[in-house]
Every structure is written in C-alpha cells, then in structure tokens.
C-alpha cells in the first residue's frame, strides 16, 4: 500500500527531498523579502474570449454570453467580495466608471451572489453587466491566476492586456487609456 524506497539510496533520496524543500522555501521567502515592483505576466499573443454562458449576478434568470461584451473596447474586472484587495479597489472602479465612459464588465469569482448584490447596493454599481462565475469555469478559461485581475478587450472581444492585482490610477492613465483609445481608432 505504500511506496517504499529502501536502503542507502532511499535514505539519500529522503534527505535530498527534505533539504531541497527547506532550501527552496528559504530561497523563495528570501526573495519575498525583496520586491520587484514591475513584474506583469506576459501576454504573448492576443487571445480571444472563451465561449461561455453564465447567469447575470444581479438577476440570475438572465444569461450572459461573450456577445454581450463586444461592440466597443471594454474593461473586464474579475473580483470577489471575499477578496480584500478587490473590496479596497472598489472606490477606484467607481472613479473610473464616473470619469470615463468605457464600459466595465465584471466577473464575480466563486462568491455568494447575495453578498455581492448587497455590497453593490450599498457601495454603488459601476458595472455595465456582471457575470456570476460560481464554479470558476470562466475564470479558469480566461487564464486568471488570482483576484483581482483586469483585462482590456477590443471591440471583437480579443484580450489585449492583462493586469494582475489592483489597478492604480497611474497605471490606468498610462497604459489602459492609450490602449483603449487606440483600439477604438482601429475599430472605426
């Protein structure tokens, strides 16, 4: 019933595994103490949206498909109410919504939709539409690592930019706005 490695080599193997994991963990933690401020996961090639059909978080009877996100360049915000950074980010999302008229589509990841509805009712709803991804299928298909995450879509629903973590105003103005405007020009 158990995998057993015997003798001298077994011992060496065990020792090597244990010591390597200690060394590896220490190295990672050491790296963790220094921070590299500018890393973003590379988006090697443009990726089309996956196909999906998921309920609207605010009225579950209505289904949302990728069609709903097309027509003009847009922002996708993947978040959840249990995610502290997402909650902290909400004011920023509101500001973007009020200051610019780019549509923001939300994807709520593995959440209690009642909580989400309450939260938005209280704090205001900046989203054009909100997809309830309770199983996480869309989030996995999008290749999202963790919440929050931002995507920039062109009018045909192709992902042009991926941003991990909370969005800052600086980042939005420097990277997101020019890209959105460029995509709009291209579309026209």
């Amino acid at each position: 019933m158990m995998l057993r490695v015997n003798g001298q080599w077994g011992r060496r193997l065990h020792l090597a595994i244990i010591l390597l994991s200690i060394a590896g963990l220490s190295y990672l933690l050491w790296q963790g103490l220094k921070a590299n401020p500018n890393y973003q996961p590379p988006l090697h090639k443009l990726k089309a949206l996956p196909d999906f059909s998921l309920p609207n978080a605010l009225c579950p009877e209505q289904l949302i498909t990728p069609m709903a996100w097309q027509g003009q360049p847009a922002l996708i915000h993947i978040w959840a109410s249990w995610c502290q950074s997402c909650i902290a980010e909400h004011k920023m999302v509101q500001q973007i919504h009020q200051a610019y008229d780019w549509p923001i589509y939300g994807v709520v990841y593995q959440d209690d939709m009642q909580m989400v509805q309450q939260w938005l009712a209280h704090q205001g709803n900046p989203y054009q539409s909100l997809v309830a991804d309770e199983q996480g299928s869309l989030v996995v298909a999008l290749g999202t690592l963790a919440t929050p995450e931002w995507l920039v879509l062109d009018a045909k629903g192709v992902i042009h930019l991926r941003h991990l973590g909370p969005l800052t105003e600086k980042k939005f103005k420097q990277q997101f706005l020019p890209l959105l405007q460029h995509l709009k020009q291209e579309h026209l």
Binding site: L19, S26, G32, L33, P37, G136, L145, A146, P166
Partner: protein
C-alpha cells in the same frame, strides 16, 4: 527612576549570555564530565529564565508607570488606558510580542530542567538545544527589535495608545495562551534533536515527549479557539475564521501537532513509529517558527501585521533556515528505518493514514498562505487566494478524517478484520441511508448534499463517541483510571461538535445590511429588529454612539441589544462594538455601520444558528488535551544513556 528600563535591557543581555554559555557547556560535556556539566547547565538555565522574567517584569513596570521614555511604551500605551490593558499592551506590538515569545521559551526550558532531574547525555543535549533557540531569539530581540529603546531626553507627554481593536478582554488571554502552545513545541523539537545526536531507545523518548506535546497542543487549541471567538465579536465582521495568513500560521503547527500527538502515543507502544515521531517533532516546531517569521517579518498583509522591517525578516529567516536545515540534515543522516509489516486495516495503518493526511493538509494551507506573498513580492500585486481554495481542497480531507475517527479508536493493533465491524457498519450504513432519505422531512432546514453528508458523518461520530465516552466514564469511576481513553473521546467529541457548528452556521446563517432610523424596524426570518433610539456614550479614551435595539422573536421574550460605534481619540480610529445575544442554538448579532443620512444608520444584522458550537467544540478538544496532559506522568526511567 530613569535607569530602571536599562535594567530590563541589561537583564535581557545577561539572559542571552547565559543561554550561550549553556550551549557551550552542553558541547563540552565530555571534557567537564556529565554530572558537572549538567549541574552548571541547570543553574545557567535557571539564571537565563530569571533574567528573562526580570526583563519582562521591567517592561511590564514601564507600562504600568506610563514610562514614555521607553519608545515601545510610548507607541503602544497612553495614560488614559485601563491598567489591565496597559499591562497587556506589552504584547500589543512587535517588540513586546517577541519578548513574550522569549519569556515563554524560558519558562518551558525551566519546566524541562525541573522535570528532568538526573544528568544524562539526552537531558544535557535537550537543554543545549533549548538554550540555542533561546540565544537565537534573544539575539533577534536585542539586535532588531529591542523593546527597551529610549526616547531621551525628549520624553513624550503621552503615548500613542494601544490599537483600539486590541482593547478587549480577548486580548488579555489569547496571545499568551497561543504562544504557550506555539513555543511549547520547542520541547519536542529539542528532545528529538537530542535523541538524534545520541540515539537510543525511541520508546522512552516517546514517553518523555508525551507530557510537553500534550500541554503545548492543548494550549495551542485553546489559543486558536479564543482567537476565533475574539475575531467573531470584536472585528465586527461576523466571521469566525478568515483564512488570514496569521490564522493559517497557527493552524499549521496545530495540524502538525495533532499528528504528533497521535504519533507520540503510538511510538510509545510501537517503536516503528519512531521516524514519524522524530519527523513530526521537528516539523511541528519548524511550522511554529515559520509562522513567527511570516507574522514578524511583515511579509504578509493581514489584520495581525505589525510594522514591516526587512532587517528583521532577514535575521529571523537565516536563523530559522540554519536551525531547521541542521535539524533535518541530522534527521536524514541518523534515522533508522525499521522493518515493518504495515497493514492498512490496523491501528498502525490508520495512524499512518492520519499522519499522511494531516501533513498533506499542512502543505495545502502552506501553499495557499504563501502564494499571495510570492505574487506580492514578484509581481508587486496584492492577490487573494481566499476561502474558496481552502474550503474546496480541505473539506473532503476533513470529512475523511472524521470518518476515520469514528472507527479508528476501536481497531486493534497489528491486524484486524473487517468481519468484526460488519454489524455496526451495516447498522450505521442502513440508518444513514434512511436518514438521508427522510432528512428532508426530519430536519427543519434546507441543506445541500455536501452539508447533509457532513452532518451525517458528524452525527455518526457523536453517537459512537458518546457511547464509548459513557462506557469509559463508568470504568473511570470504578477505578480503571484511563485518562488517555477519556481524553481521546472528549477530543473526538469536540471535533464532531465543531463540525456540526461549522456546517450549520455556514449553511444557515443569515446576514443583512439595512438602513434604519430610530423607530424603524426590520424583520429577518420572523424576528423583528427595532432600532428604539440612539444615545451618545464615552469612556476614558473614546466617545461614540450607542444604539438601543429591541429584538422580538416569535413566542419568546424580548431582548435588548446595545451595539456601539466608538471613536478612539489618540489614534483617531473608529471601532465597531458588536452586540450579541447568544444561546446554544442561535446568535443574534448586530453591528453598527456608518451614519448614512440624517439620523439614519447602516446596520449589519446576522442570525447565526449553532455558531456557539464552534467554540464549544474547540474547548472540548482543548479539554481532551488537558485531561491527557494531566494524566501523563513524567517517566522516571533514564534508559537513554
């Protein structure tokens, strides 16, 4: 007098030197002779503990006397604070917490010295390792986080106040008890290392470890339970476990400790468990130290986070890597694999399964805890892994563990047969199927399949354990004093009560955010919550608003609840004081939010059924540990060298 805090500083330095001296003595035992070396180490450790306590006492005195010339006091206390909170403010920040850590390590070392009377290589080595740990941590305090740093000659007139979240009875007990558990695992760690330096009879080692492991584990359980209860009513979120990195840092040693707790007893009966015993003893304290690093280095963002300082992080990381690395290197070189005919369906087989599952759980929690940190460090992004990950991965394992718990205690050593369990299994299986079928009409609640299954597993465990507990108690009073059996059943019963609490609270809690004006009411599940009025309230260092709610339940007496919103002046921090009416089946929970418009307040109202069962379960588990610890005698045999 102005020099008194320096006394504490000096005492800590003495304590460091004495612990270094103990290490040297343990190394030089062959030159000095065992008896002399032991005598010297004993007096050294007593001295180390004395100066540790003195240093702690001096800092305590500085807090009691509002000596703001000590920077740490000035940052964490204020003249208006009640005396008890002034004293507890000692562990309200990083430096003081580390001093508390060190004090508790000193106390455990002292405990070991008192228990282990005679001189032996094993005792000397254990004391040496404990002293080494003491030296590392006292050096850490002195070098990077000295609580005795002064603000001279410009002494502040008043302090910055203790973080208002911490001004609560929960804060008096939670940290010391948690640390007693956390640091207590240093003893099994030291003993395992001492054994590896001079291996002998592993079963005697297991007997020696029994007492410290049980005490430490019980304190840790109690500390975690207290912490969860405190978070529930003080943080104002109505949750009881957030998968916060710091909570995980205490959960990992607990899971490892649970495996150790079982392995210690198993190894005292079967020498083949020796490797698990040594591995888990090293593993457990490594997790304690990793937890300390995660919390103290400021590497994580969390409700518990203290000021970040990479210097501290580096020091403690190097220290931990060296200690843990050396310990596991020794383990890898010295452990002896024993021939073992292991059958899955035997007590040994199930204990190995238990250990494996628990170590896997630790790995899962570790991964979930560290992943956001790496993301933060490398991508500079604050990400959340969050409850969905932990719940999805851990719940099946916990259910499996509970199923094991309902028959593993009754299985025989070496070999057993399914035949013996056939009848009970048929009864349990049959009644489970029936229960599952009629549960829809039997239970007053709508539950999903997973919750129902969990409830069923917990119910079986409760019934089986209650039956054996009653039998065990009967024997106990007729003179067959088997503390261990009693303790085990008590602990397992606690687990099942905890499980029932978790399942029902998660499934049935109702939370509602409403806007209310005085005179208005809201109805939730047949209970009316009416805001009768608002009045102002104040204390020595805060002012605020107190709301008066009347809660009218169906066919029951009216309850009055007074939630508050306080504003603590020195730190300009608003704090929610929740009001809870609790009974064994239901909590009525009100937290005051923010004033929205003219006299209108946002209010969070929760109905939390069975939430008390969580802490009741936790207490029962801790009680089980304490019964076992009280029933353990320190072995007098000195077989080891």
């Amino acid at each position: 007098m102005i020099w008194i805090p320096e006394l504490g500083h000096l005492a800590l330095i003495f304590s460091l030197y004495l612990s270094l001296f103990s290490c040297g003595l343990a190394l030089a035992k062959n030159q000095l002779g065992l008896a002399l070396a032991w005598k010297l180490v004993r007096s050294n450790i007593i001295g180390q503990a004395f100066f540790g306590i003195l240093s702690f006492g001096v800092l305590l005195l500085a807090f009691a006397q509002d000596d703001f010339s000590v920077a740490y006091v000035a940052h964490n206390s204020t003249t208006e604070l009640a005396l008890i909170y002034k004293l507890c403010a000692l562990w309200g920040g990083h430096e003081g917490s580390m001093l508390l850590w060190y004090l508790i390590l000193c106390l455990w070392s002292l405990w070991f010295i008192v228990k282990a009377k005679a001189s032996s290589v094993f005792n000397l080595n254990t004391a040496g390792v404990l002293a080494l740990l003491g030296a590392g941590f006292s050096l850490f305090i002195l070098k990077t986080s000295n609580p005795f740093t002064r603000l001279l000659p410009n002494i502040p007139i008043n302090g910055a106040d203790l973080n208002p979240l911490l001004q609560d009875p929960g804060f008096i007990l939670h940290p010391p008890i948690l640390y007693l558990g956390y640091v207590g695992f240093a003893l099994p760690f030291a003993m395992a290392l001492a054994y590896l330096l001079a291996p002998d009879n592993i079963q005697v080692l297991a007997q020696k470890m029994q007492s410290p492991v049980r005490w430490a584990w019980s304190f840790l359980t109690l500390g975690i339970t207290l912490g969860s209860w405190w978070a529930y009513y003080e943080l104002g979120w109505g949750g009881w476990w957030f998968w916060d990195p710091v909570e995980n840092a205490s959960l990992m040693p607990w899971l490892g400790g649970t495996a150790l707790l079982h392995s210690v007893r198993a190894a005292s009966k079967r020498a083949q468990f020796g490797n698990w015993l040594l591995f888990l003893a090293l593993f457990c304290f490594s997790m304690s130290m990793l937890g300390t690093f995660l919390v103290r280095s400021g590497i994580l963002t969390s409700v518990h986070a203290f000021a970040a300082d990479p210097g501290r992080g580096r020091f403690i990381l190097i220290f931990i890597t060296l200690t843990v690395g050396a310990a596991f290197l020794l383990y890898g070189l010295r452990y002896q694999a024993m021939p073992w005919q292991l059958r899955l369906f035997s007590k040994e087989g199930l204990l190995v399964t238990l250990n494996t599952l628990l170590v896997v759980c630790v790995a899962i929690v570790l991964l979930g805890t560290l992943y956001p940190m790496f993301a933060d460090a490398w991508f500079n992004q604050q990400l959340s892994v969050g409850p969905p990950y932990f719940n999805k991965v851990l719940i099946p394992i916990f259910l499996l563990l509970m199923m094991l718990m309902s028959f593993a205690p009754y299985i025989r050593w070496s070999q057993d047969s399914w035949q013996r369990f056939k009848r009970p299994l048929i009864y349990i299986g049959g009644s489970s199927v029936i229960f599952g079928g009629v549960s829809r009409w039997l239970l007053p609640w709508q539950l999903d399949a997973l919750a129902l299954f969990g409830l069923l597993v917990a119910a079986i465990l409760i019934l089986v354990t209650l039956y054996s507990l009653v039998k065990g108690l009967k024997k106990f009073f007729y003179g067959q004093r088997r503390f261990d059996t009693l303790a085990m059943h008590c602990g397992h019963l606690g687990i099942s009560v905890l499980a029932v609490g978790i399942i029902l609270t998660s499934a049935l809690s109702v939370e509602k955010d409403v806007l209310l004006k005085p005179g208005e009411a809201t109805v939730i599940n047949g209970t009316t919550f009416k805001l009768e009025g608002l009045e102002s309230t104040w204390g020595p260092n805060f002012e605020g608003v107190k709301a008066n709610f009347s809660v009218q339940r169906a066919n029951k007496a009216m309850i009055q609840l007074f939630p508050e919103k306080r504003f603590y002046m020195p730190r300009e921090m608003p704090i929610t004081e929740t009001a809870i009416y609790a009974n064994i089946f239901m909590d009525y929970y009100i937290a005051l939010g923010e004033p929205v418009a003219d006299n209108q307040w946002s209010v969070k109202i929760c109905l939390k059924p069975f939430v008390r069962w969580l802490w009741l379960g936790g207490l029962m588990i801790a009680l089980g540990g304490l019964i076992a610890a009280l029933g353990t005698r320190w072995p007098t045999t000195q077989v080891i060298n």
